[in-house]
Point group: C2
Chain length 300, copies 2
């Protein structure tokens, strides 16, 4: 079943303790789409400037990603982010943000997108996320990501969004900030009380936790020696998770847990190189092989 | 099979964001022994002062813990530690340490202890740990814990110890410090190169990682809403792990992984109350029940 994603498309400049890359392809919607495309057809909504190379559109289309929702602003410049990872490769510092055309992003969904059964609202202002949701016709599963900025500065809109979502994906620091609760398990339950049917808390190198009325669990990350660039890990996690849900056309507890595992593995590949470089090297076969190793790792 | 543990016995004064306890029973060897006693008979080696209540010795003995290696120093005072947990309940600050009789601890093992097949050298100076190991007659499995202090100040003795150990248990920060490596997976491999057959890296609320020539894996912690006091979690983790090994009388890869899971669950109970209070409430049945939930949680 098709999966709709709305979010940022960016050129990232990334500095790690080991290497530097300038203006590589990034943005939450790009990472998400690419990861989800291993499982299902994806419909992408985003905005870029005139500096966007046509070759990237071609590359996404070859992955079965529908780009009719990709808006190119004449004379505009694409969103740019510059960041630096600390030696632990988990914490990062944002050095520069140029929203450019993303600052005025107010998407109108193509008619063909509005009945999409699965939708992911990648990190963005909750006002914008609500606006997208308003254009959807009865989605089966609406899930969103958020960040500290919106928790702090658009709190009311975020609370309204939470009442309308089926699922929320956020990281551990964001969950604690949103609920003012330091115990992550308690924090997850408190987010649930804000509305969504399920909550996924991403813990970076420590995996992810899942919360719903029925169950709480945690899966570790897949251990990898090769951590080159964590940028996009969270977005490809969400892409793998939502992609697996759309592929199975189900979101019962067992499917959701498998989907979470797919997200974790997708993230484990993403961090092994810059941008989409590692994901572009792999096929579904390698994902499945890593999934078998992951399942074996967790059995005793 | 009997399991020998050598290490500290203490009175802890613990401050958390929620409560304060003064002079509660603690110390690595006590936590370890109590946890291991769910699985096997334990032989305890440690030192206390005249202020040690006989009732504690009785309590340990009722758990099948052999206390003939418990040395009471006439006129001496038992080791005291005072610490304060930060709101995240993971990081802590040591406010006071009074080594007292533990400062002169130089154990001579009772003759009956020397052929014990399984030995755990709880956190202590590697010089002292080596001295204990020297008194053992061909143990089948010798495992130790260590800490930042020894990594910094008794580095050479620690390296000698590592060459003689079968297994090392340490936490994530200690592994990074010992190997000067920020990637935890790489760090685990580097500790392996220092000698032990296997290395377990404790990650607190994020579970534990295992490294050997044959395999690397990570298991998450068991998620608990009730984190009252993390003191002793690492020691009861080791006690559960070593206890399960001694019970199964094996340390093949499959047994080691099950043992790691036992350690994780033991720690998950420990943090639910101060001192040994939570462990004293449970029976093997509750452990087994939580183990079933843990296995189910990790299956998908």
């Amino acid at each position: 079943m098709p999966l709709l994603v709305v979010g940022s498309i960016a050129f990232d400049s990334v500095q790690t303790p080991f290497a530097v890359r300038e203006d590589v392809l990034g943005g939450a919607a790009v990472y998400f789409s690419y990861a989800a495309s291993f499982y299902t057809s994806v419909r992408l909504v985003g905005v870029v400037g005139e500096d966007w190379p046509e070759a990237y559109t071609d590359m996404l289309q070859r992955r079965g990603i529908d780009t009719s929702g990709l808006h190119v602003v004449p004379g505009g410049k694409t969103f740019r982010w510059r960041g630096k990872y600390l030696p632990n490769m988990n914490d990062r510092e944002t050095l520069e943000v140029h929203l450019n055309v993303f600052g005025e992003f107010s998407p109108t969904l193509p008619e063909s997108y509005r009945r999409c059964p699965y939708v992911f609202l990648a990190n963005g202002s909750p006002v914008l996320q609500l606006k997208v949701l308003d254009q959807m016709t009865d989605p089966q599963l609406a899930v969103a990501d958020t960040m500290d900025l919106w928790i702090r500065e658009e709190h009311d809109a975020l609370l309204e969004l939470l009442r309308r979502l089926d699922g929320l994906v956020l990281n551990d620091a964001e969950a604690k900030l949103l609920t003012n609760e330091e115990n992550l398990v308690e924090s997850g339950y408190k987010v649930l009380e804000l509305g969504p049917q399920f909550v996924v808390i991403k813990k970076g190198e420590h995996g992810a936790m899942f919360f719903s009325e029925e169950e709480t669990y945690v899966l570790p990350a897949f251990p990898t020696r090769r951590v080159v660039d964590p940028t996009g890990a969270g977005d490809t996690f969400a892409g793998g998770m939502m992609g697996a849900i759309a592929e199975e056309q189900a979101f019962d507890p067992a499917t959701l847990k498998r989907a979470l595992a797919h997200g974790i593995l997708m993230a484990s590949f993403t961090v092994e190189d810059f941008s989409l470089d590692r994901l572009r090297e792999i096929e579904r076969e390698q994902l499945d092989e890593r999934m078998q190793r992951f399942q074996k790792m967790l059995a005793f």
